[in-house]
Amino acid sequence: MKSKKRLSLGKGLAAAGRSQTFLYLGIGILLILFPIFDSDTSQVNVAAVAGVWILLALGLNIVVGYAGLLDLGYAAFFAIGSYAFAILASGQFNIHISFWILLPASALIAAFFGVLLGAPTLRLRGDYLAIVTLGFGEIVPRVFRNASVFTGGVNGIVGLDQPKVPPVFGWSGNFGFNPIPWYYLILGVIIVSLFLINNLRNSRLGRAWMAIREDEVAAAATGINTVTTKLLAFALGASFSGFAGTYYASKLFLVAPESFSFQAVSVVVLVMVVLGGMGNMRGVIVGAILIYTIQTYLLIQLPGWIDSATAALNIDWLTKLDLGHYAQQSNYLIFGLILVGIMLLRPQGLIPSAQRKVELELGTSEDSLAELQGQV
């Protein structure tokens, strides 16, 4: 009887797996064909930039979602990836290393800085770690702004190299400002990243991260070196933002320090991860797309919509209030309200990981190893 039950369960799982495969296959085909449906390629361009945010969110998800380390300075690694590319592939010092070499190289550079930041700070727990990473996230863009000899200061570096491939189908192979190759490039990078991160999660390392997140003391007592394991989370998380940084800088043709501020990057990416569902890659992707859409589409269109709505209603005092103007001014307020609303409705995230779901209902242990050892 027992075996029968298991068999039917197995069948159910297989069926679920098959329909899921079809779903992903469908989404994949849609994504590949997407540029064909978009005649003026403006939406393709938007999608390509959204891809950068997805990549950032996936990287931060390793640190926050898997290893449970609250990192508020993720923008720093994004900035490091961007500037590494900008310095090594532009007229700034007349160094022109190929984009295709720098894409993995800047991931390594970002990972190195991940270790550099992680090493002194990983004894700290939750809130304290968050504060230190926040500081790091503020320092890095400031260094780039002030070290103007290397980085061009406030103006940043303009005229970065762009990738090239051998010409195909009558296309020159120059990426330039044509969004279609950029779109396919980021699509490829994301698919590879998904594959790599999925492997990580199901590996020995992923299991160690989860163990540390659940109970650091017990993890150490079972033989996990908590320091190196956390460092690896920082390094691997940072490396994906290195990819994103290189891509972003090259696509934009320039880097400037203010694109890496706390409110522009670190917080937004964290919101994507938390709101999408920490520790769940699908959730994080959905979160990234949603937040990006709200920021670049909804918030910008909203004043216009309000204006046309009040005009249509044609009520004198309502038109005089000029609500559209206020909506434009209180952009961030509206953004905040939307976030609060979503978090109230779905505190576990849009697509939570199975573990997070139960955790949120029942709480988790909060002792840290350093705290225990710090007792004199």
Binding site: A211, A220, S365, L372
Partner: protein, 287 residues
């Protein structure tokens, strides 16, 4: 040779002397119990051995090798590093600090062959039971970061092997039916067993159990005693803290008694049971 030897071990928490100048040695292959009233310093001693706390003074040897202080270790193996410690200690003393608090990290103690369970069960609640045990195998796995990233055949094989071994341990503690349940959903007694399985997964030579029978009914206690015997017959030395006298007297070969952080008695169960100081510690002075 004793598998674990503790010499003059002292631990102070501010004004509280939790463990005071304790000497004890656990022989390889025995079942050794530590008893004592609440607050006697038993768990503190466990934490000291496991590397969670650093001793105020004293030495800990595992298989004749120093776990703490590390200075002794380096003095034999690397004079330059030992010299660094000497200088650093001198500087710290000069500015009014104590010597560098250096000992092996908890994970290093575990890889030396000391595994433990916790008094208040500490499982990875939101991982499945078998995953909990697999975490215990972590230090003996060899897949590197790139193996993990690319899911190489090596990593896949190792994962399969480790899962099989974990399942074997689950069978050993009698939990194979619950392998895919979240640890936190297991019944209390099963959680204790799962913690033991996780500790065994690290392939310890010495297993330290902190009150394994707490909250058990007589039936569960009998099963636990069987399990402890079975663990010992695998060649693992068992060092346990226990309050339940019946379990202690029946299962252990030697007992040490702690009171107010001091060792007040040591010996076989029959002898310890009749020791007047032990009776006094447990029942109070007779009027």
């Amino acid at each position: 040779m004793p598998i674990l030897e503790v010499k003059g071990l002292t631990k102070r928490f501010g004004g509280l002397l939790a463990v005071n100048n304790v000497d004890l040695s656990v022989e390889a292959g025995e079942i050794f119990a530590m008893i004592g009233p609440n607050g006697a310093g038993k768990t503190t001693l466990f934490n000291l051995v496991a590397g969670l706390y650093k001793p105020t003074s004293g030495q800990i040897f595992f298989n004749g090798r120093s776990v703490y202080p590390v200075r002794e270790f380096w003095r034999t193996y690397s004079p330059p590093i030992a010299a660094y410690y000497t200088v650093a200690d001198a500087v710290r003393r000069g500015v009014g600090l104590g010597p560098l608090p250096l000992g092996l990290k908890p994970h290093a103690v575990t890889t030396l062959g000391v595994a433990r369970t916790f008094q208040n069960i500490r499982l990875f609640s939101y991982m499945t039971a078998v995953e909990n045990v697999m975490v215990g195998e972590h230090p003996r796995m060899h897949a590197q970061v790139w193996d993990a990233l690319l899911n190489t055949p090596f990593a896949r094989n190792e994962e399969r092997r480790v899962r099989d071994r974990a399942m074997e341990l689950m069978r050993f503690v009698g939990l194979e039916r619950y392998a895919d349940q979240y640890a936190r959903n297991l019944a209390y007694g099963f959680q204790r067993r799962l913690e033991i399985a996780r500790a065994l997964a690290t392939e310890p030579k010495l297993l330290m159990l902190d009150e394994p029978a707490a909250g058990f009914n007589p039936q569960e206690k009998a099963e636990l005693m069987q399990l402890i015997q079975a663990i010992r017959s695998r060649g693992i030395t068992v060092f346990l803290i226990e309050h339940d006298m019946k379990v202690v007297m029946e299962v252990s070969e030697r007992i040490v008694v702690l009171d107010y952080g001091e060792k007040i008695a040591e010996g076989p169960p029959q002898k310890v049971r009749t020791n007047p100081r032990v009776i006094e510690a447990y029942l109070g002075k007779s009027a």
